[in-house]
Symmetry: C2
Subunit: 346 residues, 2 copies
């Protein structure tokens, strides 16, 4: 299409800074005749303190009108833990049925990893985004007493598991190595585990070219640091995906470069793209944040909108920029954004 109508949510902390650079690179990469419209939304801690609101029905209606959403970061120590996470981030993922939470990990040349021997890391995690222990089911009785009982209910449906498993198989089929790993804990969480395993095996029969394996989540953390090259595509539940993608980010260049997409593949609702990192209030406003993760999230956004060429140009620009960083001076948030904008335009 000849236009992109983007919702922009800078959010808290470093969110504004990194989103500015993401948009800079986006403008630079788009052809002149593509009209980029952006509308900023003020969600996050400031709005919560001022109004008590995190995300209203009217907000959701407004966001629905966009082609996609770019988010910086949400969260501030001044807001009690859980309020913005459940009230905004998760509310949006659930309201817009973002069931494919896509998190690629690629260790690019020149990039530091805490692991010895510069391993080959190039995999993508398809994290389920609307079920599992994230549903908010559960509760508390006798709160604050010595007899308190608190429960959390992980909800898993054949419908919800199958669609994300299918998405992951299709992604594995499209990659050169064609390998898909299911990560779960089916020897302990036997109800959910058997559902995941059975659905996985059933869909596998339709993809004879994709080789499959099953790994328990605890063992997966071992492999992520001892043989990350064994992974190509990973599909997993919401909570396990949350945990292993932070570890994956850590070993493949850090959260400064980890991008993610909260995707509704049907297009019924706009998808949302955001860096994996948080709002980092300790360095906010100082021009120290690395905008690369946001810029790579813009690439995922473009690919989602069918703009593969521009997505690839951004990814190539980031790879070149990271390789050039080696031994170079520290640069500010804006300097990195400027450099990337120049590269994608050139």
């Amino acid at each position: 299409s000849r236009s992109i109508n983007l919702a922009v949510i800078p959010g808290d902390g470093i969110g504004q800074e990194v989103v500015t650079e993401g948009l800079k690179v986006l403008s630079a990469v788009l052809p002149q005749d593509v009209k980029l419209e952006t509308k900023e939304y003020d969600f996050g801690a400031r709005r919560y303190h001022a109004t008590g609101e995190t995300l209203t029905d009217a907000d959701l209606d407004a966001l629905k009108g966009h082609d996609a959403i770019l988010l910086g970061a949400i969260g501030d120590p001044s807001v009690p833990s859980g309020v913005l996470e459940r009230g905004f981030l998760l509310k949006l993922r659930f309201a817009f049925d973002h069931h494919v939470n896509l998190r690629p990990s690629k260790l690019l040349p020149g990039v530091e990893t805490p692991l010895k021997g510069q391993p080959e890391i190039d995999f993508v995690v398809v994290r389920e985004g609307t079920e599992g222990p994230y549903t908010g089911n559960g509760g508390t009785i006798r709160k604050g007493t010595e007899h308190e009982v608190a429960t959390e209910v992980s909800v898993n449906t054949a419908y919800g598991v199958e669609r994300v498993v299918r998405d992951a198989f299709a992604r594995a089929q499209a990659r050169p190595r064609k390998k898909l790993t299911l990560v779960h804990k089916n020897n302990v969480l036997t109800f959910a585990g058997h559902l995941w395993t059975n659905v996985f095996n059933a869909v596998a029969a339709e993809y004879p070219e994709v080789s499959t394996e099953y790994i328990h989540v605890d063992a997966a953390t071992i492999y992520l640091v001892t043989q990350p090259e064994r992974f190509d595509v990973i599909v997993t539940d919401n909570l396990f995906g949350d945990i292993i993608t932070d570890l994956a980010a850590a070993v493949s260049g850090g959260i400064g470069v980890a991008a993610s997409g909260n995707i509704n593949p049907s297009g019924e609702f706009p998808s949302m793209f955001e860096p994996v990192h948080g709002s980092a209030p300790d360095i906010a406003g100082q021009g120290k944040a690395d905008p690369t993760a946001t810029v790579l999230s813009v690439a995922l956004l473009l690919r989602h909108l069918g703009r593969d060429d521009e997505a690839t140009r951004i990814e190539d620009a980031v790879a070149a920029d990271l390789a050039d960083r080696v031994g170079g001076p520290a640069r500010s948030t804006a300097e990195i954004g400027d450099a990337l904008a120049v590269r994608v335009a050139g």
Copy 2:
């Protein structure tokens, strides 16, 4: 006491081999006048296939008569996932109320780590062992259909959380650095998370000398590979503890040296000690398994029985043996056990 009456469960795969060496070292370290009695139990895959039983009431009664339990490994690919885990390992932990699951991580000199720069790693994870998502609560409806729903219920009680948090504070207080980290996901799992956080903060007030911090489980996996030296004692729920202790083992020498104790601090039931690794059927019977994790589990067992001197002698022997391994030839399971037995006796 002048006698130790031990239940020994070799189990499956490499279990028999590593337990033999654990007992060898135990015999060598005990003073002549301490009578070591052992009784072997045949739990695991063979018994399951022969009788359909995993752990009967009569078995539990028999085990109750022992001072402690030493376990090799349970699990075999011939048994469906979950049967031995839920039917034996978890059944025993729950029946004997093993609520303190103790897992130390120490990177010893000379030991390989996948991390760059040989970081300082010396912490202990106190994993809750009888609650959380491990209770087996939950279920499945419309199994095998496209309308299947499977739930897993994490159950958390003030009683259960407080006792393990207290245990962790006492351990932190007794260590030189006196630092305790709570690992949870209280921004998403708000019911359980608030219970854990509130109990943690309440008990913290009784330990003014212990410095405390809270870290989300996803971020904890990042710190475990980028700054593991930040941890001293970690307290966490059953599932998070399962995940992060495998990662902790991976960065601090691998599962070949990771020991664990499933402890009932009251002594009402015998505690159980086992290596973190599994039954490794691929190398079973070949004398290739490293018995060090089992030997270190024996040290935890001795410390639990009040035999600190002998526990320390085993740990020192292991440290010396690991340092001596550097560049040396590969040794068999029995050779490593023999070397450790000589060291502790000497």
